[in-house]
């Protein structure tokens, strides 16, 4: 099995052409990107607004749980029967998969921002939109990005099913390999999907850390504050000289 895997990976023929591994990886990433982007556009604004109004907790939990229970392969097959073959059914199935973690992440992110931070922001004269944009979202980013990370992991892994309805992606290796009993090819597909998902997951884990609020001052801000402080120190020194 391992030998089959190595020999499949080692064969230069499998690394080029319209059914080569690189193209399959690009297809897999393209389907995933498309699906996660659409999920985010649909789920994040709703999550943010519900979190801001601090309402709809049961709605969010309900959507997240019920949608999570839908089997993606079954949903996609149903959509193919309704809409015919093409890119739309698998992407829709993946969008449905991506929505719950993004919705839950953005809702929980905003909901969990310290109540006194929000109260303070409102009390010093931020409009509701400014409260959301300037106080809540920046501090909700770690959880929003965590939601993105979970959605991406699920979607990249599941995008394999696109091949089931005659599309590309790494699922091609798995379904085609199964058809001809080429387990080296099947194993290659499985290993590549897993590696790809883990790579993207690691990158997004890095992003989660990078968006932690109050970690470090942005370079431009730091320079500007330094300049102001230096001017001030200069002024103080100058006035000390003149007063002597």
């Amino acid at each position: 099995m391992l030998q089959d895997l190595i020999s499949f990976l080692g064969s230069p023929a499998n690394w080029s052409g319209s059914d080569g591994i690189p193209l399959r990886i690009v297809e897999q990433l393209w389907y995933s990107l498309l699906a996660v982007a659409i999920s985010a556009v649909l789920a994040v604004p709703v999550g943010l607004v519900l979190g801001h109004t601090r309402r709809g907790e049961s709605l969010v939990a309900g959507i997240a749980n019920s949608v999570r229970a839908l089997p993606s392969l079954g949903l996609m097959t149903l959509l193919v029967l309704l809409l015919g073959l093409g890119l739309v059914p698998p992407i829709l199935a993946l969008v449905v998969l991506g929505i719950p973690p993004l919705l839950a992440g953005s809702y929980a992110g905003v909901r969990n921002v310290d109540a006194s931070t929000v109260d303070g922001a409102r009390a010093i004269g931020m409009s509701e939109f400014q409260v959301l944009l300037k106080a809540e979202v920046p501090n909700a980013l770690p959880l929003i990005v965590s939601g993105l990370r979970n959605a991406s992991l699920d979607v990249i892994a599941t995008a394999t099913i696109a091949a089931y309805v005659n599309l590309g992606g790494l699922g091609r290796l798995i379904f085609d390999g199964m058809a001809v009993y080429d387990y080296g090819q099947v194993a290659t597909g499985a290993v590549l999907v897993t590696s790809l998902a883990l790579c993207i997951d690691a990158m997004l884990a890095g992003l989660v850390r990078a968006v932690q609020p109050g970690r470090r001052v942005r370079g431009r801000d730091s320079r500007e504050i330094s300049l102001l402080l230096r001017d001030r120190a200069g002024d103080a020194a100058a006035s000390a000289v003149t007063s002597d």
Binding site: D119, G120, A123, I124, G125, M126, A135, D221, E224, R232
Partner: protein, 373 residues
């Protein structure tokens, strides 16, 4: 000036939080709203900047009904400080202080520069400018909160239990700082607290709230202590009332006795005075502790360590009140309260007798004034 005209706040469940409140806060004065939790003091304050809307009645700011115009604009013109500070965790200290200026459309560089001015004014080291709120101590964080409220130079400030979450030492420091700032800036301030001592210390006038948002008494602190208007106020100020009233009497006229000071180097061999206690100081005259005969003998001529000295107790700092003087006398192991000047150098001692004598003088003077009326 802030005016409450027959303001009532009733919640949808029927709870009356504030019941027909009418009072005026004079321009440039600090009014404390004090009372037990649930008495409507915070609710009343939050109606001023429309964080809550009154059910009935009207609140006027310099004659203008606050309900006119936009709540957001109103809030930008009113400084606001809350117990949990509520800074923005993702912004640096200087940008937190600059928040209101930025909201008002001041250019960023200008806003930051003015924020640094305000930080200096409230005693925040400028090195903190690029730090984030999470790395500040409780006291520093609360100063940043005050700086943020002051940054846009509002005429009115609302402060909701701003000092109750910090430890007592820091709280005293912040209270002193607020008094100093208020003496300079003359803002119109509503300050909410449940701490009667804090109310008495800070307020030009104190509004005592009772259950269900009823105003019990609105008067200067001295008057509240001397003549509580209702049984409720009396029960609130009742305990330690006489002692608290001493806070309003200056200790400057107190006659002090010379302190039995000895510098630490000579303390092992110095003669004890009749009282049996020596006040040991550093070479520069800063008091360290009290030494009695038994401990002096056990030194055998060696310089005393910290364990040989009895603790000083509280000290009366020049400019303090009779309350501090009495506390110094009571808390000192020798019965002699240490008086220090603003540099912390011992200048004398006082006993309970001196405080009592001074109090008798004050009473006699008051009686004379009363008789002349």
């Amino acid at each position: 000036m802030i005016e409450f005209n027959h303001v009532t706040k009733q919640y949808p469940d029927g709870t009356v939080a504030v019941d027909n409140l009418s009072l005026k806060v004079e321009k440039g004065s600090l009014t404390v709203f004090v009372g037990p939790s649930g008495c409507g003091k915070t609710t009343s304050m939050r109606m001023v900047n429309r964080m809550l809307e009154p059910t009935l009645g009207q609140i006027r700011l310099d004659g203008v009904d606050v309900a006119q115009g936009s709540a957001v604009e109103l809030r930008r013109g009113i400084g606001y400080v809350i117990q949990n500070v509520g800074l923005l965790p993702h912004r640096t200290v200087v940008d937190n202080v600059a928040t209101v200026l930025l909201l008002q459309g001041v250019h960023r560089k200008e806003a930051r520069s003015r924020a640094l001015d305000v930080m200096e004014r409230v005693g925040l080291p400028l090195e903190l400018a690029r730090r984030f709120p999470a790395s500040l101590s409780g006291g520093q964080e609360q100063r940043v909160g005050v700086a943020r409220a002051l940054a846009a130079d509002p005429q009115v400030m609302l402060m909701d239990e701003p000092f109750s979450a910090v430890d007592p030492l820091v709280r005293e420091e912040l209270q002193r700082e607020l008094r100093r700032l208020q003496a300079e800036l003359h803002k119109t301030i509503i300050f909410v607290t449940h701490d009667m001592d804090e109310a008495m210390l800070l307020g030009d006038r104190v509004a005592v709230f009772g259950g269900h948002g009823t105003l019990q008494q609105y008067a200067p602190p001295e008057e509240i202590l001397a003549r509580p208007a209702t049984e409720f106020v009396e029960s609130l100020v009742g305990r330690d009332r006489g002692y608290r009233a001493l806070s309003f009497l200056d200790a400057a006229e107190l006659s002090t006795r010379p302190a039995p000071v000895v510098s630490i180097a000579d303390s092992a061999t110095a003669d004890l005075p009749d009282s049996g206690w020596l006040l040991v100081t550093t070479q520069s005259g800063h008091p360290m502790g009290w030494l009695d005969a038994a401990h002096q003998r056990s030194l055998n001529g060696a310089e005393p360590g910290a364990e040989a000295l009895a603790p000083l107790g509280s000290q009366l700092i020049a400019g303090g009140s009779l309350r501090q003087a009495l506390d110094a006398a009571l808390s000192s192991p020798s019965g002699q309260g240490v008086v220090v000047n603003s540099d912390g150098v011992a200048t004398g001692v006082i006993g309970v007798d001196e405080v009592a004598a001074r109090l008798a003088q004050v009473r006699a003077a008051e009686a004379a004034v009363g008789a002349n009326r």
